[in-house]
Subunit: 342 residues, 2 copies
């Protein structure tokens, strides 16, 4: 972005992003010093922020380049996932963009269009924004606000609770691995490649599933929840906290056939992707063992993805183990995953 | 920032920032997927985000280098100013940091200490945070949330309303001009230099004054408000909207002696700084002419800075004029100020 006259056009792009944002609970949207929003009676405010940076979380150039629409989608998706992990309803977003000189207003429109597509799908109103010029790479920092009567914390799992996860694991990591290969590899893998690349580029935040699990938490049947952003093992270690351990059953991990197909083609290990790959944006939770069926049915009724039982919480601090199947003793599992400063 | 082992230390810095944040209205602070906050009954939620970038809004090196503590302070201050401009009470902050490899954990601590100092002064709880590594310059993006029963919008000024501003104008621009000169110039100017440099480096958001003006707005005596971030003329044009103009009285501009002294020393025009310099973070508002005294007294009672009457709103769209004094006709005033894409 360059030139003085473009500030107005860019501001219009941002206002356009907020254009569909008026609702009964948006008193003032984009364009004032701050947004003004109306809290529903009896609800708590849930707030999260997550920044994605060119070169760290995405690329605009080179073999692993992402489309601007996908970058916008993804930046919002990771925040919606955090709100979903609280069992809360996401409702508002504020977008802060740092724009390099080489981006045209049309580029910014594409970025915002991706964000708007996901926002519209989840009825999230973009109520604030901020544009800055940067001499570095593209910066997309998004704050999402939501509501919940009884948000679900990370803390609260008990020894004996079942460890459950929504959807599938390893697809985003498979997509990331594939991105660094020649497009010829993608072609040979056909629909398996399309599927894992889509998981990497356009993660679907588990908002409906989070609300269903939040309702189960209110009923005392789900005890703790987080999302899988940095890898199952690392996020699980956070769910365990200082007082618990957990065992993961390898044969129960929901690794879909397309992930296995990509792993075979790249001579990689699908299990490692599922355990340590990250960016799955599934929900991981501790479920009362007596209520497994009820909780699974509740997630099913949300019209979301299935809930899988993949292990259990154990007494004793900080010990993660990987077993072949329920009943096996297994071996220690490292709490390794995505580290932003690695 | 580099090396895998530092992620934990950095996370501790961020948690430290949130350490003093527990209050009756913070159910969950930093460390979960999202913060959980308790809205006070009958209040509206006010939300803003503002990003500051190395090379654009501050420098860490060279003659105009800012201290990390000041960078942290300033990044929060500009957001508190936006909340103050709504007549709202700032209460929570979420900080998103993009850290270059050359920053040590001690550097990050200094940055966070500046932020924490201002947060503590205004009883703002840091409830969320996000750390990323960047190959570009330092990124500080802050979201602030606050509460107000009746927030004051930018829109609402009426022809005949008096134009009022808190505090002083031009000091931050004087400080910016001074930053690019040799330190010898600072020395010769003595306390005048200290004063304008402090205004540039550690702006004081007008939170108390904003709350007092918000109370006057509820009583129908203040009709519109914004902060002066991009320069008096440009921010005034936004307050006028499409339907109004305004005249500014040159002799009433609160340009303090230290700003005039610096302008003289640098052969610059203090009036230009006051009108177009920006970064003053004062509050600009439209006041019912019959209630001027009452509104001024209310701001005085807030233990804040004085409120000055510097002009009035006129009928007719988009026309800004600069007059020597009340009663003069004056000349057109350009709505020029800070443009992030200039």
């Amino acid at each position: 972005v360059s030139g003085g006259g473009e500030a107005a056009r860019l501001a219009a792009v941002l206002r356009g992003l907020g254009g569909s944002a008026r609702g009964h609970d948006v008193a003032i949207g984009i364009g004032d010093d701050a947004a003004v929003l109306v809290p529903p009676p009896g609800q708590r405010l849930v707030a999260t922020v997550d920044m994605v940076l060119e070169g760290q979380h995405f690329h605009r150039r080179g073999p692993a380049a992402a489309a601007l629409r996908d970058i916008g989608w993804r930046a919002l998706a990771v925040n919606l996932s955090d709100i979903a992990a609280m069992g809360a309803l996401p409702r508002f977003a504020l977008a802060s963009l740092g724009l390099p000189d080489d981006m045209t207003p049309a580029d910014v429109e594409a970025l915002c269009a991706g964000m708007a597509a996901l926002a519209t799908a989840h009825d999230v109103a973009v109520v604030g924004g901020n544009l800055a010029r940067t001499s570095g790479g593209l910066i997309v920092d998004i704050t999402v606000l939501g509501w919940a009567e009884h948000p679900v914390a990370r803390a609260g799992a008990r020894a004996g609770d079942r460890l459950c996860v929504t959807g599938r694991l390893g697809a985003a990591a498979a997509g990331l691995a594939l991105l660094s290969r020649e497009p010829a590899t993608h072609g040979a893998l056909g629909r398996a490649a399309d599927s894992v690349l889509a998981a990497q580029r356009r993660p679907e935040p588990r908002v409906r599933e989070g609300l269903a699990l939040g309702a189960m938490a209110r009923a005392g049947l789900v005890h703790a929840m987080c999302d899988v952003s940095d890898g199952l093992a690392l996020d699980l270690s956070r769910l365990c906290g200082d007082a618990l351990g957990a065992v993961v059953w390898r044969d129960r991990l929901p690794i879909p056939p397309e992930v296995s197909a990509v792993a075979d083609a790249l001579s990689a290990d699908a299990g490692t992707w599922a355990l340590h790959g990250g960016e799955d944006y599934e929900l991981l939770c501790a479920v009362d063992p007596a209520a497994l069926e009820e909780v699974r049915n509740a997630v099913q009724r949300s019209a979301g993805v299935p809930l899988h039982t993949i292990g259990e919480f154990t007494a004793g601090p900080g010990q993660l183990r990987l077993a072949a199947r329920p009943g096996d003793d297994g071996r220690p599992l490292a709490a390794a995953g995505w580290d932003p400063f690695r």
